[in-house]
Symmetry: C2
Subunit: 274 residues, 2 copies
């Protein structure tokens, strides 16, 4: 087998399993070659990843050591994703009556969800979360992709407790601008006490849902170590959670004047890549 093919195959396998450690021996067996010749392959694979801008390979020594692929996204790719999000969100025909914005096609778009997941995975790569947590439904794609990149399980809070969830814990919380009472519920077996959760959601106005998820995590003795949202509303300025990372800010949406104020979180994105 040629070096080029070995390196290509190694990259495919590592990429298919983000944040999973493979021993050098695994690839020696697969390619039927010595560890010494593999180390040059690893260097070549690292350079190839640098060029493509989609993450990096980390090597670790010792008995449990090996190679793992840390997925990422280049600053350029992240910037063009936010630009694409901005353009899409500014489309006038998204304006619904009463100032809502139609975003389902965006939030359910696999390519966008993947890009968002890559940015969140980079932002939160050191937060040592044990789960990614979201509440159904529109934040689920971004949360799933973030979980995939970080090699973590995804936990989804439900609006109603389902018979197929077994025994559940439910809470009520205030949500939305009208401060309606909403409910969310989680299977008792879904998380373990003493663990850490990264929350991902599609949209935050006052932060009621995120606060709800945080309260729920507290019920389960789970620490929230990060919050990523795709879009945060500018108003109200005071949110029910203090620490969150949005990709976009939404200002006024005016159906009569056909105005959508949308802004990228330029500063926040820059910080990730510093």
């Amino acid at each position: 087998m040629k070096r080029t093919e070995r390196v290509g195959a190694m990259l495919q396998i590592l990429r298919e399993n983000p944040n999973k450690t493979f021993s050098l021996g695994y690839f020696c067996d697969m390619f039927d070659c010595a560890k010494s010749s593999l180390s040059e392959d690893v260097s070549a694979a690292k350079r190839a990843l640098e060029i493509s801008g989609y993450g990096r390979i980390e090597t670790s020594a010792g008995a449990k050591g090996g190679l793992k692929y840390i997925p990422s996204i280049s600053q350029k790719t992240a910037e063009s994703l936010l630009h694409e999000l901005e353009c899409k969100l500014e489309e006038k025909d998204r304006i619904l009556a009463n100032g809502f914005l139609y975003t389902s096609d965006i939030m359910f778009n696999p390519v966008i969800a993947k890009g968002v997941g890559q940015i969140f995975a980079k932002k939160f790569e050191n937060c040592r979360a044990d789960y990614v947590v979201t509440v159904e439904t529109k934040g689920l794609p971004a949360a799933l992709m973030t979980a995939e990149m970080l090699n973590l399980p995804l936990v989804v809070l439900r609006r109603e407790s389902k018979i197929s969830e077994g025994s559940t814990v439910s809470i009520n919380y205030f949500a939305g601008s009208a401060e309606r009472i909403q409910k969310m519920s989680l299977a008792k077996r879904a998380v373990k006490p003493g663990t850490r959760a990264l929350i991902v959601d599609d949209f935050m106005r006052a932060g009621g849902s995120i606060r709800g998820i945080t309260d729920m995590m507290r019920e389960f003795d789970v620490e929230v170590v990060g919050v990523g949202v795709v879009i945060a509303a500018k108003v109200p300025e005071k949110k029910k959670v203090s620490d969150y990372f949005p990709l976009m800010y939404l200002g006024t949406v005016d159906a009569d004047e056909q105005i959508i104020e949308i802004e990228q979180n330029v500063e926040g994105l820059k910080e990730i890549f510093e």
Copy 2:
């Protein structure tokens, strides 16, 4: 830049964008090299993919031609995924009262969802779907991953019509063994008439939900060209839809006797790889 690095980078970019065509010129510009030297790179990339078992590269000629990555999964990997699913589903502590099985952790597991998506993408690669369609919530991860692999948008039917969905079409349907009336709703703007949909869901008992989605698609003049479900119940034998592809069959679940009858769709999987 060495060939090894070019091939590695090319593979990363193609893989990041399943089923998207890139012109040869795109890579010539990126790598600053001639088309003639790129054709050997393409051959090496193809061989590397063959070795790793994660899909293939298709080349097409002409003005709109170029390279695209068709994601896939080797028979061996698909078989080990089904084996893993079987082992997980057989865990006795999944049995809930009244014969339900707890599967949320499985359906929300990103690695499993991706594997399921890869199998469905291979099964339905020639069905020329314009969308992948599911109904919230537990089938969403598998549907999203299938959509990503096929480079299609995902459309998610909601249980309740939401204010953020704009004007919607709703239908009522019979679901579950108790034949309760359930509702599903879809934004009017979510799909276009005259298009084709691939349905993906997590579980099918009598097929009420899938039938509901099919009826909804008919309301929108959308043709259903395939149905993939992760688990299909053996009983009732007569389903409300005739043509569907399950990965697993679920037989009796008995809480008293601690029995879970689960079977892989061995024949169906074999056919995909013939």
